[in-house]
């Protein structure tokens, strides 16, 4: 390295000064670019969605029909915005569908991921937990469209023949669980989508949680054991308590991923714009609707359908930004009382 340095120093001093300021300015510009891109994205969405927001009003959030309207009949004007007659854009089933699939995914992924993280860091010997951890990491890398293809061709059909009828048959008819009863279908629907999504979220939460568990100091855990706590009590009252905020943060990031996922859901949920009557029925989400509707929206010469898609995209964008900020806030807020010693009396 010394030789390289001397070779370099034969250049004039001003060349080095120029190089330093070039690095500094390039870095400064590059660091501003993501912010500029974010502003650009939000501005484009807002501009494009404005006519739709004006005409659709609150119906967008309550209505449950998504119709482009008649492209042959003469166009109608509402509030100065041209659109085909009979156009109706109600996104309630899509918004509800996005929340449903994500809720299923996170409800399953969270306990399973925490269990996996415990198994990987505390229970299994290193020679076996390392390759298993890598396998879970690889699962995160499988392209979502491949996961979706497997979901629609193999995973869904097999579940609908084996597991779904069993659940539907044996669950009691009480308020919440009755959503899991009724006809089982062929495996394209809410539950298949939610389970496929869970498979995508698990690696995210597991990787972060396992990392956090490794950072918990050994002494408090040994102290707990010396006091006669069982393995479960140490895990629940010391290890998990210690990193609680990090686990919550990872979960919310997984939720954000689930809300925005497109391809795995386009293929597995059946893409029907209706509220699912039971957990096995075909439905759709906002992201899947954007992917499947843009083509047909282009047939609307007034551009109103494309504008309504922009409103969908804006709603999805706002939801995911809020969820991301929530994750940040939770981690910041709880990172100081995450220590078990202050809370567990």
């Amino acid at each position: 390295m010394t030789t390289a340095f001397h070779a370099g120093s034969t250049r004039s001093k001003s060349a080095f000064v120029a190089e330093a300021s070039a690095w500094r300015w390039a870095a400064r510009v590059a660091a501003v670019l993501p912010t500029a891109a974010l502003v650009f994205v939000v501005a484009v969405l807002a501009l494009k969605a404005y006519p739709a927001v004006k005409v659709n009003g609150t119906h967008f959030f309550t209505g449950s029909e998504w119709k482009i309207g008649s492209t042959y009949a003469p166009t109608v004007r509402t509030d100065g915005v041209a659109h085909p007659s009979g156009a109706a854009f109600g996104a309630w089933p899509l918004i509800a569908g996005t929340l449903q699939t994500s809720a299923i995914a996170v409800a399953i992924a969270l306990p399973v991921s925490v269990g996996c993280a415990f198994a990987l860091t505390e229970r299994l010997p290193r020679w076996i937990s390392r390759p298993l951890g890598f396998a879970i990491e690889l699962l995160a890398g499988v392209p979502s469209v491949v996961l979706g293809l497997w979901g629609v061709l193999t995973f869904g059909p097999v579940l609908s023949r084996t597991v779904y009828p069993f659940i539907a048959h044996h669950l009691p008819t009480v308020p919440v669980l009755s959503f899991f009863k009724g006809t089982v279908g062929h495996g394209e629907g809410l539950l298949t989508g939610g389970l496929t999504l869970a498979l995508m979220v698990v690696p995210i939460i597991t990787a972060t949680t396992a990392d956090l568990f490794r950072q918990v100091p050994v002494l408090p855990k040994e102290g707990g054991e010396a006091l006669g706590m069982t393995g479960y009590e140490v895990a629940r009252r010391i290890t998990l308590r210690w990193v609680r905020s990090g686990v919550v943060g990872a979960t919310v990031l997984g939720l954000a991923r689930a809300l925005g996922e497109t391809m795995a859901l386009v293929l597995t949920v059946g893409a029907i714009f209706k509220l699912a009557p039971n957990v096995y029925s075909p439905m759709s989400t906002i992201a899947a609707a954007i992917a499947t509707q843009l083509d047909s929206s282009l047939t609307d010469g007034t551009g109103f359908a494309v504008s309504s898609i922009a409103e969908l995209a804006l709603v999805l964008g706002v939801i995911s930004v809020l969820v991301n900020l929530l994750a940040r806030w939770i981690v910041l807020r709880t990172s100081f009382d995450g220590r078990p010693l202050r809370r567990a009396a």
């Binding site: 306990p111 499988v142 386009v266």
Partner: protein, 296 residues
């Protein structure tokens, strides 16, 4: 206070639960890999890799090259911007009078929040914006450049974060030593700081490539699709082909050969991504062996 028996039962239940949850993840993961392979392997022919695609016939040459071109483009655009952004966020070159102190740090914090927010944006929404602003707005048409820009927008935050983390792990002593020897800032950055942060940065780049290669949603409305091999046009190209589109569409086409192509494309994609992740893992493993002071 629960009895000792109950506590022991809970503990046993917990032990079983951790192993069960591990199985709940690993068995579908294995099932997925086996399923992808089982659909592609029985009819697999190596010639798929170098035969051109004609409509629903032929092989995957165009789409494979297309995915590689996308990855290369992302490496150039997102790689340079992301690494530079990471250098700024880590504060490595913010040493001029104007860029020092609290105010610069709080600006960096805001830039970081914006970058994280962009990373959390659904990729389909970014694709839609690319369609509205670049494909239609600038009259670029479905082609390579809008696809590259949208993909880069997606992965720049990841690369910036990986670079920032890697730079922050470089011991302060290295930089102080370089300064004490009288090394110019830019020279020290290149030869000392970036060099020792290289493994972390390379890992981030490889992960970004894996994301870019496996993406579909933002490409549907920016690149659309074309079965021909890329002609070198960045805009006005009437579509640009890539592998994930074949997986997404060809499985539902009526012809059996098209379905087979879809499964083949899935297998090629999985192998490509696994190779990238495996390389990333090797980079990490190799460097951890040499640096005994680092690592957990």
């Amino acid at each position: 206070m629960p009895g000792a028996r109950r506590r022991r039962a809970y503990s046993a239940l917990f032990r079983v639960g951790t192993v069960v949850s591990l199985l709940l993840v690993l068995s579908p993961a294995l099932w997925l890999l086996a399923g992808v392979a089982a659909r592609a392997v029985p009819h697999w022919q190596w010639s798929v890799l170098w035969t051109g695609l004609q409509g629903e016939n032929g092989g995957l040459l165009g789409p494979i090259l297309g995915t590689l071109v996308l990855m290369g483009g992302v490496l150039v655009i997102a790689g340079s911007v992301g690494v530079l952004a990471g250098i700024h966020l880590a504060g490595t070159v913010r040493t001029a009078k104007a860029g020092r102190g609290r105010r610069a740090d709080s600006v960096a914090t805001w830039l970081r929040i914006a970058s994280d927010t962009l990373a959390g944006f659904p990729s389909i929404v970014l694709g839609y914006v690319g369609y509205v602003a670049l494909v239609v707005g600038l009259h670029w048409g479905f082609s390579l450049l809008p696809a590259l820009l949208v993909l880069s927008m997606m992965v720049i935050p990841y690369i910036a974060k990986a670079t920032e983390t890697a730079l922050r792990q470089v011991p302060l002593g290295y930089r102080e030593g370089a300064e004490a020897l009288g090394m110019p800032t830019g020279f020290a950055l290149r030869k000392v700081v970036l060099k020792s942060a290289a493994p972390g940065i390379v890992t981030g780049l490889l992960l970004a490539l894996a994301i870019a290669g496996g993406e579909t949603a933002p490409l549907l409305f920016t690149a659309e699709f074309s079965s021909t091999v890329w002609t070198g046009a960045f805009i006005h190209a009437h579509g640009f082909g890539y592998l994930t589109y074949i997986v997404y569409q060809y499985w539902s086409y009526p012809s059996a050969h098209a379905n087979d192509l879809s499964y083949d494309a899935g297998l090629v994609l999985v192998v490509m991504v696994l190779l990238l992740l495996f390389t990333a893992r090797l980079v990490v493993a190799r460097t951890q062996r040499h640096a005994e002071s680092r690592g957990r």
